[in-house]
Subunit: 450 residues, 2 copies
């Protein structure tokens, strides 16, 4: 397949898709949900091929879990489609309505972005979510999924594409790309593809960003911080840190760095609790020398219990090492970095300089400190007293997400329907010309009608 | 000056500027307006240096007109500042307020983008407009103006910067770059500069886009079309075409291409009127052979009157030449391209494929045709029966503009205050963790509070 030619056709079909009614787009989604359920046995057969191939090639269990498309996953994607149908139509919203002068009327109306290229990991449910988000928002997707799910992706794409054609969408409104080398062709489709959304490893996303002139939405790193303030409630701190680190370690919104206020009382009460909690959960601590010195001291006073039960001893020893803060990074595993900060402002500044502007959290009981942190930290998500793992389109109530954006341009954070629309200005006159305004013969009165 | 170091300092100052109150930002604008008026004689002296230099170096009259900063320009920029003060604060707007679950509250709040690099043409009034838009929206601008206005830019920058410091803005919140080679340094400040807005020639904007990983907002080409529909009112068509072509030929929103419906009645009534109007206004026509054949025929029937008055003759001959439609381009002068189209859909398709997605217009008395055109044409501005020259921030009532965007991402069309903001998600819990939702122990209820 010559990607460029297919995408060129899609570009000329895109305005037709943009003009389809809300009813037609919703009907397409209903058909998709029906067809997926009707053809589930065929889908499971194709999925088994991918699973068998993965087993033969010794693919890790954690990846196989994501490849699997079973009754449970089907139920989830169908529920997701039904949620999408229930959401307000993002297209055709009047966001500005202004009379510039008599009979010269300006409207700003939301409309689809057009052609969107999405390159995503080996997860068949992602294909369904991304396609249906695009269909609901009147966009034309070019889809490239992970190669480990080629068979499942192919049948899912065919079912969805046939359903949208049946619903009255024009031919060529969706495109599947299967070969990895076709990604490079796609990157060169400047002027035809309006937006690229890459998902996957840090290195992969950076490769996309560095090799195209098409706008890219997404995130490379996910280095999320939790700042434990001097006014932190210690139970809350421990509970949130453990969830943010362990609930799903490979996620971009898992915590990677702890910043701890250098308050003496906090150190006395919080550090031993943290050491025990990390040890019990098998989390390795990579801390600055100040932090690890406290761990050394802790184990001097509380030897590890190797034989009988002893209340003065502890049961598990923390795995820890001393590093410099320049070595802090994204682990995506059971490792966490830690250092002290003198105050909240230093924490915010450290996050702004070393974070990835994804999601960062303060643990505090002080409203003033929370407000200041949430104001100063320049991230898509700024949290108080809750896990960074909440940064997710479904959890925010967006139905699903095409990705999470750490960019400040266009869309930020989890990107659902709203991030998939743009707008156009429509101006209607009765032979109005600028010359009459430039000469002072007429003047604007700018009366808002909305 | 090492640009990167200065920009790094600005980056750490940006969250403080973002946190300044609306009152403080408005007070800064009031001070700027006052200081500009108080120090106008000093400004005019510096401006005379630039004008003298231009005169000595034989700079074209049209450019000198833009370099000039006189009482009239001062009055305009001060009026612009007052309009900016009167506009609603774009910062801190609550655009989403949702209870995800009991005590787990999500807010989405508008906030400044941060550090914005703006490279603009030699127009001192542009420096004032751009700076004040950034100040009103809580952003930190890095400003590089055209070298022909170095002296005027320097004094204007100093007056504005001193005024914002006096108003309580932090040091380093604004930066002026004077050397052309420093632009390349600025392009490398990925991660420090959040957005670049280049204004100027097509080639220059393209150079910026091709040489940075920082998001770029703006437009390279401005190839605007007027489609004369079969239901066009001919007087309206002639009036709008002349304004769109002649009112300011060097503007990006001037019309460059005419698409004319191949309806026989329209050809009979409209083409002779067009030929006469273009000839009278000294506009050269570059048309396809079908178009120029009609001009040949016209002059066969209406010879040019070289001597006495004669009602059968015409007074001026149109300058025209036959070209292929692949030669249509942006002229920015008194030249216009023209071709026929079979119908409205062909016109829309031609515009989508050959235009620059800036501003395109239909001349028609048919509501249905206008609606279809405005739906199908994929441009930032889609107009009916009015001049493309209206595409402008001031005329839309945005106070001013930092530029016009032909991108579909983030902001489209004239970019005023709204295009200079982004948002952040703020989530507040009471120790909420994802684990409890993943296990089914708790569930989201997503109740909108707005």
């Amino acid at each position: 397949m010559v990607v460029r030619e297919e995408v060129r056709k899609m570009k000329s079909v895109a305005p037709l898709v943009a003009g389809l009614s809300n009813e037609k787009r919703c009907n397409a989604l209903i058909l998709i949900a029906d067809r997926l359920e009707e053809k589930k046995e065929e889908i499971f057969i194709e999925n088994k091929k991918d699973l068998d191939f993965a087993a033969q090639n010794g693919v890790a269990e954690s990846i196989v879990k994501r490849l699997k498309f079973d009754e449970g996953k089907l139920r989830d994607v169908v529920a997701g489609i039904k949620q999408l149908i229930s959401l307000e139509d993002p297209i055709g919203k009047l966001t500005l309505h202004r009379e510039l002068d008599t009979d010269l009327i300006l409207k700003r109306i939301t409309c689809p972005i057009g052609v969107i290229g999405i390159i995503f990991e080996a997860r068949p449910d992602a294909l369904v979510q991304i396609s249906t988000l695009c269909i609901r928002s009147g966009n034309c997707p070019v889809l490239k999924g992970g190669k480990e799910t080629t068979n499942t992706n192919r049948i899912l794409f065919n079912i969805i594409y046939e359903a949208v054609l049946e619903a009255g969408f024009p031919e060529g409104c969706m495109l599947a790309v299967e070969q990895h080398n076709e990604i490079d062709e796609l990157l060169k489709c400047e002027g035809l593809v309006d937006l690229l959304i890459p998902r996957g490893s840090n290195a992969f996303v950076r490769y996309i960003m560095d090799n195209t002139h098409i706008p890219v939405m997404g995130h490379a790193d996910g280095i999320c911080h939790i700042y434990v303030d001097e006014w932190a409630d210690i139970d809350t701190a421990i509970k949130v840190i453990l969830d943010a680190k362990t609930q799903y370690t490979a996620a971009c919104n898992a915590v990677e760095t702890l910043l701890i206020n250098r308050n003496q009382l906090l150190i006395k009460n919080f550090i031993p609790r943290l050491i025990e909690a990390l040890a019990e959960n098998g989390i390795k601590l990579r801390g600055t020398s100040e932090i690890t010195a406290l761990a050394d001291e802790f184990y001097k006073n509380h030897p590890v219990n190797t034989e009988a039960d002893n209340s003065e001893n502890v049961n598990q020893k923390l795995d820890y090492e001393t590093i410099d803060e320049s070595e802090f990074k994204e682990y995506l595993s059971l490792i966490v970095s830690a250092r002290f900060v003198d105050n909240l402002d230093e924490a915010a500044d450290f996050i702004n300089q070393h974070g990835s502007h994804h999601t960062d959290c303060i643990i505090t009981s002080s409203d003033d400190n929370a407000d200041r942190f949430m104001q100063l930290v320049d991230s898509a998500g700024v949290y108080r007293n809750c896990s960074t793992r909440f940064a997710d389109g479904f959890r925010y109530g967006f139905g699903a997400e095409v990705g999470i954006s750490t960019s400040k341009i266009h869309a930020r954070g989890p990107v659902g329907l709203e991030g998939l629309v743009t707008y156009k200005y429509m101006l209607t006159g009765r032979g109005h010309i600028v010359g009459e305004y430039a000469s002072g013969q007429k003047s604007f009165h700018h009366k808002d009608l909305l």
